[in-house]
């Protein structure tokens, strides 16, 4: 029995050449979409203006508005894809998604507090436009701490317990948002509504540079856990016997997801379905081992998010559609198909 297990483990350890090829394709397509997204948009650049006058409107739009926005979309997509894939692995549940552990709800509550109460309590000049993302990050961190407390350092046996805590946290946050919705004025209410539909419209270098650094560091910290996640698929006791510190793994995956998702939601609002759908697409294309799945989900997540953002910027230009609408419009039918498929097998 043990020899079979170790053989299986051994074969999972490596990433096969087919998967390496696919990963290379993902990287190339991400770069292509990155370049396309930077070139396309409602504002048409003239190459002459760009090269001749470094203070022209063309340069400002390209460097201060377009590029930060596309980069933010890419990183948010990557973090949602990656944390979706690792949470699905950790919970051994194909329907797990970054929203499940309640972190996005916590961030949303933090943001809603600023949108509804902020203007009354804080004068604008204190934090200016940064107060919303900061408050959202505080909301997300509070949820992580709550999860940590209730699961006794994520060590509690059994993943169901964690899921139930996540559901309770989600319910609590939506009550908070509900109360804020009720007391909000007309214009705050509309601000709230648009925030929950997601947008990369507010990306500026000041906002995104710290975020991009934290997100990349967290990703590099998380991806090496891929093989442990493979072992975890055999079940918690089995993984433990094969030498995986399950408690530490849980801690790592949940903290890393919470950080990346918390920051993503804080900067771009609620963007549905990417964390759920992307890992499934990557699995369908090339297989289930996490050494392939985690980086694959990050790159595909980035590509899809940049594409969704490109559509949101260009479909009804010069106006723009909330990007969450586009991802959900694509994600929801896919989700239905997924449920249908699971029921059949």
């Amino acid at each position: 029995m043990s020899s079979i297990l170790s053989k299986k483990v051994h074969s999972l350890k490596f990433i096969n050449s087919f998967q390496t090829g696919i990963l290379a394709l993902f990287v190339i397509s991400t770069l292509l979409i990155l370049v396309t997204s930077i070139t396309l948009g409602s504002f048409n650049f003239s190459l002459q203006e760009l090269l001749n006058d470094s203070n022209s409107l063309d340069n400002i739009v390209l460097l201060e508005i377009r590029i930060p926005r596309v980069l933010l979309a890419a990183f948010v997509g990557a973090s949602l894809g990656l944390s979706g894939a690792s949470l699905q692995g950790l919970f051994r549940n194909p329907l797990a998604d970054p929203g499940l552990i309640g972190v996005s709800a916590g961030a949303a509550l933090g943001a809603s507090i600023v949108i509804v109460l902020g203007s009354g309590i804080l004068p604008d000049f204190i934090f200016g436009t940064l107060i919303l993302p900061i408050s959202a990050i505080i909301g997300a961190s509070l949820v992580i701490s709550l999860l940590y407390l209730f699961t006794q350092g994520f060590g509690y046996q059994g993943i169901t317990y964690m899921l139930l805590v996540g559901i309770a946290v989600n319910a609590f946050a939506s009550v908070g948002i509900g109360i804020l919705t009720y007391i909000s004025t007309d214009s705050e209410l509309r601000g709230l509504t648009f925030w929950t539909m997601g947008s990369f419209g507010g990306a500026s270098w000041q906002l995104i540079i710290p975020a991009l650094i934290i997100i990349s560091l967290t990703m590099f910290w998380m991806i090496p856990s891929a093989r442990k996640l493979d072992l975890l698929q055999l079940g918690e006791p089995e993984a433990y016997r094969l030498g995986v510190d399950v408690r530490k793994l849980k801690f790592k995956v949940i903290i890393a997801s919470a950080i990346t998702v918390g920051i993503s939601v804080s900067l771009s609002g609620m963007i549905g379905f990417v964390g759920l759908v992307v890992p499934h697409l990557v699995r369908l294309i090339g297989g289930v081992n996490h050494n392939y799945l985690l980086p694959g989900s990050a790159f595909l997540g980035a590509s899809l998010m940049m594409t969704a953002d490109l559509l949101s910027r260009t479909l009804i230009q010069p106006a723009e559609l909330p990007v969450g609408l586009i991802t959900s419009a694509i994600g929801a039918p896919f989700f239905l198909w997924l449920i249908f498929r699971i029921r059949k097998t």
Binding site: F43, I60, I65, G128, T185, A319
Partner: protein
């Protein structure tokens, strides 16, 4: 973290709130806010408009202009792609990050404060005529006409104040409970312009109200927006809904409907609509 703090400190707002000085170049103006568009058309400066938001739906000719989206969900790049020289916005123009980005590009961004009174409307008109530099005799006399209208409205309002009429304004019906204008809303401002008092004065904002509190408010008149009327075949069927039928207004058939933006937009039309209602209330 230090970087983060530095970037926090380095952000400051450099917007012109209610700055009514003449714009350097207003030949290519983008407008976010229906009332401002209405006023610019009133001042006959519409040839300067190159884009409007979707709340700018009056006069109907605005539908031919490029749409920059909803006033609270604008896109920096979309607006810049029109290459505007001036941006006029109502105070709920947003999101804040987009407004900040626009002003950082060095564009002339003017945000006009909203004040739900007839003086507020007059100030808006005068401010825009300064910004757009409209000094022709025609426009000045038009502004005088609006001033006369406002004086006339104030006289009517004074009479109505003495008779103590209570009015309730409904945005639309959510199921059977109406969304009603509470304190601090544009609806509240509109009712007060006519001299009547807002029957629903015990809460802030637009809120769904229970049948019981509507009976306790017992308005003499009920105004509903045309959009809210859409879900009813006629005024009688609206009056017979459980939430409204025990009010004085419903019993005496004093339920009126009107275009929402004409009342609540606080552009030029709001004055004439308020006069119309003030006359009805004083009967």
């Amino acid at each position: 973290m230090r970087f983060f703090l530095i970037s926090i400190i380095s952000i400051f707002m450099n917007l012109s709130w209610s700055d009514c000085s003449m714009a350097k170049d207003s030949s290519k103006t983008v407008i976010a806010g229906g009332s401002l568009t209405e006023v610019v058309y009133f001042l006959e400066q519409e040839e300067k408009i190159i884009g409007v938001d979707i709340t700018s739906n009056f006069p109907p000719a605005t539908s031919e202009l490029p749409s920059i989206g909803y006033v609270r969900a604008l896109s920096t790049e979309g607006i810049l792609s029109l290459k505007p020289s001036l941006i006029l916005g109502e105070d709920d123009m947003g999101p804040p990050l987009v407004v900040e980005q626009l002003s950082l590009t060095g564009l002339d961004v003017r945000i006009l404060e909203e004040d739900h009174t007839s003086i507020g409307i007059l100030r808006k008109i005068e401010c825009l005529s300064e910004v757009l530099n409209t000094k022709s005799k025609d426009t000045l006399s038009k502004i005088d006409l609006i001033k006369d209208d406002i004086n006339y409205l104030n006289e009517l309002a004074q009479e109505n104040k003495e008779s103590g009429i209570k009015v309730m304004l409904i945005l639309n019906m959510q199921g059977t409970s109406p969304i009603v204008a509470g304190n601090g809303t544009s609806g509240d401002g509109f009712i007060k312009m006519t001299g009547a008092s807002n029957a629903a004065n015990k809460f802030e904002g637009w809120k769904p109200i229970s049948s019981e509190s509507i009976i306790s408010y017992n308005p003499d008149y009920i105004i509903i927006t045309n959009r809210g009327m859409n879900s009813f075949p006629d005024i009688e069927s609206l009056a017979s809904t459980t939430s409204l039928k025990f009010t004085n207004a419903a019993r005496e058939g004093k339920i009126l409907n009107e275009d929402g933006m004409a009342m609540l937009g606080f552009g030029t039309r709001t004055v004439s609509t308020a006069i119309k209602f003030a006359k009805i209330f004083s009967k």
